[in-house]
């Protein structure tokens, strides 16, 4: 980074690496929302880590001026958990696609949510595998023809928000990549949430889902109904798997101790018996 004074504008969070994404890809919108979010929250680049797995959207960390880790397919969440536990003062944002997070990384999604690891997880959801050129994903609707489902997808697609709520995420929201400002507002809320925040952003794939996907999805998008109680789990779940409409906004938002809070608690208990533990204390158990 240049030594010039950092003024927290969205542009300053742009790295000089140019995205490999196709023209018209929804991920550009998500990236722009992320720059705005970081700028609005005045995040220090050296105290921010963006972690991803593998996929088109997982290229994102390279485009952000911060610490970044473009890791293995499906493994972003455990890596991010390790980073956050080692240095809880860092802001850790995980990004990736629906295949990365629900198929190969599905088990980590469940457990990272369950343990309320203090992370923001942004899933760019295009209902397809883009980087491997167009195979069905766990989010691809039943019957859809893709490169790997010549006769139509024999499996029903899942709603990532329904999973997140069921898994124990303490903040769940949905956004649309075409709405950069709206997505940035959701991202801000997600980053500021203490605990595991899951943000599903509908991010069309113009190459493998066709030029109309953007229009079709935009038509389905609608805001959270007025008066929705974000602390009511059944009400939040009712806004998922709607079989047509895609409700965007904050679906669920509750407060529980984070994994790190619990670990701090454990340390208090552990040191109560052995304040300033030494090797001698440890070796006593073997005498």
């Amino acid at each position: 980074m240049s030594s010039a004074e950092f003024t927290y504008t969205p542009n300053e969070y742009k790295s000089d690496l140019k995205p490999v994404w196709c023209p018209g890809c929804g991920d550009f919108g998500v990236l722009n929302s992320l720059y705005r979010t970081f700028a609005d929250l005045k995040l220090e680049p050296h105290e921010t880590v963006v972690v991803s797995g593998i996929g088109c959207s997982s290229r994102l960390p390279g485009y952000v001026e911060s610490y970044g880790f473009n890791s293995l397919h499906g493994r972003a969440l455990p890596i991010a958990t390790g980073i956050k536990l080692a240095k809880p003062e860092l802001t850790v944002v995980v990004v990736g696609g629906d295949g990365d997070g629900i198929a190969i990384g599905g088990n980590h999604f469940l457990h990272t949510a369950r343990r309320n690891s203090n992370l923001t997880y942004i899933m760019m959801d295009n209902e397809i595998y883009g980087l491997t050129k167009g195979q069905a994903a766990p989010t691809t609707p039943l019957g859809d023809k893709t490169k790997s489902t010549t006769y139509g997808n024999p499996e029903a697609g899942v709603d990532p928000c329904a999973l997140a709520i069921s898994f124990g995420a303490t903040w769940v929201g949905r956004g649309f990549s075409g709405d950069i400002k709206g997505s940035a507002e959701l991202m801000k809320a997600a980053v500021q949430h203490q605990g595991f925040a899951f943000l599903n952003i509908i991010s069309p794939c113009v190459t493998w889902r066709g030029d109309d996907q953007h229009k079709e999805l935009r038509a389905k998008v609608r805001p959270v109904p007025e008066g929705h109680d974000v602390t009511n789990m059944p009400a939040a779940l009712a806004l998922t798997n709607e079989g047509g409409p895609l409700t965007t906004g904050i679906l669920y938002d509750v407060s529980h101790p984070t994994l790190n809070d619990e670990m701090v608690e454990i340390a208090t208990k552990a040191t109560a018996k052995f304040p300033n533990a030494t090797k001698k204390d440890l070796l006593r158990a073997f005498m």
Binding site: S15, H46, V51, G82, K87, A277, K279, L283, M287
Partner: protein, 574 residues
């Protein structure tokens, strides 16, 4: 008079066979004696058959005894389960439950029926008293350990057990079995611990402050100890959903600047292979303690083998430099784990510390004063390094100064993708070639700095034995015994297997008239690895490679060595 005693205690769950062995071992350690204690169980989680074998010696020991001098049997049905793996000395004294008739083949030994079941409060403790007076063990030390064992129970329970112990002592005096009495001089108390515990303590000593692991036999004790102790020293311990997450969290924590480790066994190492490649590619230090068990697949989870060797050396896709270290005994598990951290941190590589069930789960005495080891820190990026920072700067030894989140100016994006010096993804052949060379160069530097090995026996031996890991203690005792008989035999064990201390091994090979490569793998993994790396003369090299599941014995090594020396050379494997 004798300088050592070996005995086994066999019973069902609830008989307290293993507990009795624990008490005896601890008492002996407190007397300053050398102890090695092993346990064996049936497959049941609770109940079922269990046994322990304790070897106590007035002089240093390196392996379990081949034969026991005494056997306590609470139930012959349980004993039958262990019969194939338990050898008795011809003069062995067998103390058995009088209500249970011994099998025919046991009649060759001195059988002594005892009314163990009459001491329902503590037949195992009664047995301890009996053993103490029969073999001349100091009763006070054992009595203290009996009290200590039950210290959380009521006074009545403690007294009942002490009474049982004293009754056992009395019974031994009455029986006057005329056994060899253990002769020793009390000395400085020793620690008694298992290899897994020594690895965990080594990790803490090395500065490890993050551990993530998934339970797996026979390595879980590392997780247990670090779960208890890391929070006391400012660290964190995470039990993950699987081994993929365990090594992932380790790589993440290490990327953030913490010294981090995981522990597992074969099946877990298989799952971790992809992330090992990331650790190697992204040059993020990581330490993996892999406690080997019988394989492949689920194999024999409770028994030892050395068959993860090839996986540790070669497992994973792509050209992936990694370091492989070995543990030769319990104390060495402490030192090797610290070496593992030192190498991982200094050279930004994944380090696999290969242990084995046979040393990871056996309890062994250690001199507390030996538990110190130099600790090396990571080469972090200085402020100067961070001006126009290149995370993967191509340097002479391949090591680039590493910045960690929180360091201003050190921001970089790391990658499992091939990348240039800045960390940017690249699919260029020239970059790939340059960066592969850079990453592999670190192994040359490690080989120079850490040519770790153990060697014993005379120079220019008639027979040189090449072995590694858990076999080393057994070979050492075999070499000592053969040396005492005037046989010129020596042994060499590399303690670092990747990169191999090739020059030192070659020197040993060239100085030995004949060679014997010895290991617990069916496929002769160690021998074939040496063949690939060292100039082993085919005509004078023999191989002894057998499946694990039963620990190597001193007798086995000696028989094999003498067979080779007698010129009965085994067909060398292809």
């Amino acid at each position: 008079m004798s300088h050592e005693l070996s005995l086994s205690i066999v019973g069902s769950g609830g008989d307290g066979a293993v507990a009795a062995g624990d008490i005896l071992s601890l008492a002996a350690a407190r007397e300053g004696l050398s102890v090695i204690k092993t346990e064996a169980y049936g497959p049941q989680i609770r109940g079922g058959e269990s046994s322990c074998t304790v070897r106590i010696s007035a002089t240093p020991i390196h392996a379990q005894a081949d034969e026991v001098d005494a056997l306590v049997v609470f139930s012959w049905a349980d004993f039958a389960r262990f019969r194939a793996e338990m050898a008795l000395a011809p003069t062995a004294i067998v103390l058995y439950e009088e209500k249970d008739a011994p099998p025919e083949d046991m009649k060759q030994y001195k059988l002594v029926p005892i009314a163990f079941s009459a001491h329902r409060a503590g037949k195992n403790i009664f047995a301890l008293g009996l053993i103490a007076s029969t073999f001349g063990l100091q009763p006070d030390a054992i009595r203290d350990c009996v009290r200590n064992r039950f210290k959380k129970k009521t006074e009545a329970v403690i007294e009942a057990n002490v009474t049982a112990f004293d009754a056992g002592l009395q019974k031994g005096v009455e029986l006057m079995l005329g056994a060899d009495q253990l002769e020793y001089v009390k000395s400085e108390p020793k620690l008694l611990m298992a290899g897994n515990e020594a690895s965990a303590i080594g990790a803490i000593e090395a500065g490890c402050r993050f551990f993530a692991g998934y339970p797996i036999t026979p390595s879980s004790e590392v997780l247990h100890l670090l779960g208890e102790w890391l929070p006391r020293v400012g660290g964190k311990c995470l039990q993950t959903e699987d081994e993929l997450a365990a090594i992932g969290a380790v790589v993440g924590a290490s990327f953030a600047g913490a010294k981090a480790m995981t522990a597992t066994s074969g099946p877990g190492l298989s799952l971790m292979s992809e992330m090992l490649g990331l650790s190697s590619m992204a040059e993020v230090p990581s330490v993996i303690v892999n406690v080997q068990r019988g394989g492949p697949s689920t194999g024999i989870p409770t028994k030892s083998e050395q068959s993860d060797l090839w996986h540790a050396l070669y497992g994973g896709h792509g050209d992936m430099p990694r370091v492989v270290l070995t543990c030769t005994d319990v104390a060495d598990s402490f030192h090797t784990t610290i070496d593992g951290f030192n190498i991982a941190e200094e050279f930004q590589v994944p380090v696999i510390v290969l242990s084995e069930q046979a040393i990871a789960q056996r309890r062994e005495t250690i001199d507390a004063n030996t538990l110190t080891h130099e600790v090396v820190e990571r080469r972090l990026a200085t402020e100067e390094d961070r001006e126009n920072y290149k995370r993967y700067l191509d340097t002479v030894d391949g090591v680039s100064p590493m910045s960690v989140p929180g360091m201003k100016g050190g921001e970089y994006q790391t990658n499992g993708l091939e990348h240039d010096e800045l960390g940017r993804p690249s699919s260029m052949f020239t970059t790939h070639m340059q960066m592969n060379a850079k990453r592999y160069r670190k192994l040359d530097a490690i080989a120079k700095k850490y040519p770790l090995f153990t060697r014993f026996g005379p120079e220019n031996p008639d027979l040189g034995i090449l072995c590694w890991g858990g076999s080393v203690g057994v070979v050492r005792e075999a070499v000592d015994r053969m040396t005492a008989r005037g046989i010129r035999v020596a042994a060499f064990a590399p303690r670092i297997l990747m990169p191999l201390p090739a020059a030192e091994i070659q020197k040993f090979v060239d100085a030995s008239k004949q060679l014997l490569v010895l290991e617990l793998t069916f496929a002769a993994q160690f021998y074939k690895y040496l063949r690939a790396e060292i100039d082993l003369p085919k005509a004078t090299t023999s191989v002894f490679a057998r499946s694990g599941g039963k620990n190597l014995t001193v007798t086995e090594v000696m028989e094999e060595a003498q067979r080779v020396l007698a010129g009965k050379k085994e067909e060398v494997l292809a």
